[in-house]
């Protein structure tokens, strides 16, 4: 009860910023994932890692998709993990790297955006959101040096330009804005090669969704840590579309149809669609 008392008083005197993490740092710092504790030995491959995420801009918005696999070294530790998170009505983030750290970062980031919005009565600007996430990544730098690396990708619908924007990060923070498309994670090299050839500027959102699915398939094709569509278990990639209408996660049935047509195409042409040479 005594702690409850101190906490309520703290609530009443806290009239500072609208940041949830700043508030938490004063009230309950132990709840923050600050990466303060030094590990006896780097953990490296022993804990689950999340892999490939792709994001592309489309007409009036942005599409993000992620595979479902998590790996610990050579072992598949999770087949149906979700690595793309809704952060608010007009933005989302995907994570690559240490799964646990990434999930916690996404959860905190979601509260951070919402907390600001509720207290201030307005949403942060897209640049403000991207910068805030950079701070989160930088705060994890100590842990990253010990092997708990997590690198997010952030995508949002920006009403000022009536279109989508994509931001990338490195372990030290960022953000780096990417025009058109971006990919993170172990399969990102292959996904990016695929995106480079299949990306069409101002494509309709459903076209952009196909581009993402093709890129993820190409990543899974060449990277062992990226999971392809699991037809037997019916586990499909997570795909979200953000436009002026807000955040929408595509239902599994819709993705199943798209993936099945993609697979049918690959049966005759295993390397997927080709880009015109001239």
């Amino acid at each position: 009860m005594a702690s409850q008392q101190a906490w309520m008083n703290n609530l009443y005197t806290n009239t500072g910023s609208s940041s949830f993490t700043d508030f938490l740092r004063g009230y309950a710092p132990e709840m923050l994932p600050d990466g303060r504790e030094a590990l006896p030995a780097p953990v490296g491959d022993q804990i689950p890692h999340a892999t490939t995420i792709v994001a592309v801009t489309c007409a009036g918005g942005v599409v993000m998709a992620g595979d479902r696999r998590a790996t610990s070294g050579n072992m598949i530790s999770n087949r149906d993990m979700e690595k793309v998170f809704r952060t608010d009505e007009y933005s989302c983030m995907g994570i690559a790297g240490t799964a646990s750290t990434g999930i916690e970062m996404a959860r905190l980031y979601q509260v951070e955006l919402e907390h600001y919005e509720k207290l201030e009565g307005r949403s942060l600007s897209t640049d403000g959101k991207a910068n805030r996430l950079a701070t989160f990544v930088r705060q994890n730098l100590g842990a990253a040096m010990q092997g708990l690396v997590v690198v997010p990708i952030f995508a949002a619908y920006d009403e000022r330009i009536d279109g989508g924007r994509i931001f990338g990060y490195d372990v030290g923070g960022g953000p780096y804005e990417h025009q058109l498309y971006h990919s993170i994670g172990s399969g990102s090299i292959f996904a990016r090669g695929s995106l480079k050839k299949l990306y069409r500027e101002n494509a309709a959102p459903d076209e952009a969704v196909l581009t993402c699915l093709q890129a993820l398939y190409d990543a899974a094709d060449d990277d062992s840590a990226t999971g392809g569509p699991d037809v037997t278990r019916r586990i499909w990639p997570v795909v979200v579309v953000i436009t002026a209408d807000g955040y929408r996660r595509l239902p599994d049935e819709e993705i199943a149809t798209l993936v099945e047509s993609l697979l049918a195409g690959r049966m005759t042409d295993p390397d997927g669609p080709t880009a015109p040479l001239r």
Binding site: M31, R86, H115, K118, G121
Partner: protein, 263 residues
């Protein structure tokens, strides 16, 4: 200088009287259940100073009284909800727990401080079904009332509540519930506040993620057009015969702007 003696009963009575007067000076706020959730309506010309707010996924907040005081309560409620939702799970944040936090804080301030908070608040939570909806009304002394279907706070709350009860129907659609709320908030024969004079929000159980939605601009205007009573021919004659009428509701609460209270 010796203090004149005042009995504890007298002190508490004076404090309650002071708070009650302050709260009655503003305009009423109506919180009412409708078919898809809970509707919150406040006559409020200010676009910046809100009387209605979102607290969490399923929880809304409405308040009357002194703006700086209920704004502090609102922010505390958001911090409380966000800390608990982050620490446990989003499902673990409930209106009941929040109402208890508010009640203990209000009660403590009422007994310990020289001045009670001049506020009355409603904490509403929309459930999966209408039976699970909850509306809690809290007064300046920390009393909690578990309201059924509707709550009216501030201003001439008894009169407004009586008018609301006459019009209110359980399971009414949104437009009808808004009509009932506006009828209750308008003095008989008075003119209804327009979209620019109203702050309206819903907790809609059919929405995904966050149930709270502020209705404003064209959306509110359309809804107000739907909410105009069918018996419109009756109301025009009322205005000319009365000539130029005083404002339909109590004068805009100086209490909200934080300026000097009237003598």
């Amino acid at each position: 200088m010796p203090f004149p003696y005042a009995s504890p009963e007298q002190i508490m009575r004076d404090r309650a009287e002071y708070a009650r007067k302050g709260i009655a000076r503003g305009r009423s706020v109506v919180v009412v259940q409708y078919a898809d959730g809970i509707l919150l309506v406040a006559p409020n010309p200010s676009k910046a100073l809100h009387k209605i707010s979102e607290i969490y996924d399923r929880i809304g907040f409405a308040a009357v009284g002194r703006y700086n005081e209920f704004e502090t309560l609102r922010q505390a409620g958001i911090r409380y909800a966000d800390v608990n939702g982050y620490n446990y799970n989003r499902k673990d944040v409930t209106a009941r727990a929040l109402a208890n936090v508010y009640a203990s804080q209000l009660g403590m301030i009422f007994t310990d401080s020289i001045k009670a908070l001049e506020v009355e608040i409603v904490v509403a939570e929309v459930g999966e079904t209408a039976e699970q909806d909850q509306i809690y009304r809290l007064t300046f002394d920390g009393s909690v009332f578990d309201e059924q279907g509707m709550a009216v706070i501030g201003g001439q709350s008894d009169t407004v509540a009586t008018r609301l009860k006459e019009r209110y129907r359980v399971g009414a659609p949104l437009a009808e519930a808004l009509d009932a709320a506006l009828t209750a908030l308008t003095e008989p024969g008075g003119e209804r506040p327009g979209a620019g004079q109203l702050e309206v929000a819903v907790l809609d159980r059919n929405r995904e993620h966050r149930k709270f939605l502020r209705l404003s601009g064209p959306r509110l205007e359309r809804l107000l057009a739907d909410a105009t009573p069918a018996a419109t021919p009756e109301s025009p004659p009322a205005t000319p015969e009365g000539g130029r009428k005083p404002p339909p509701t109590a004068p805009e609460g100086d209490i909200d702007t934080g300026s000097e209270p009237p003598l």
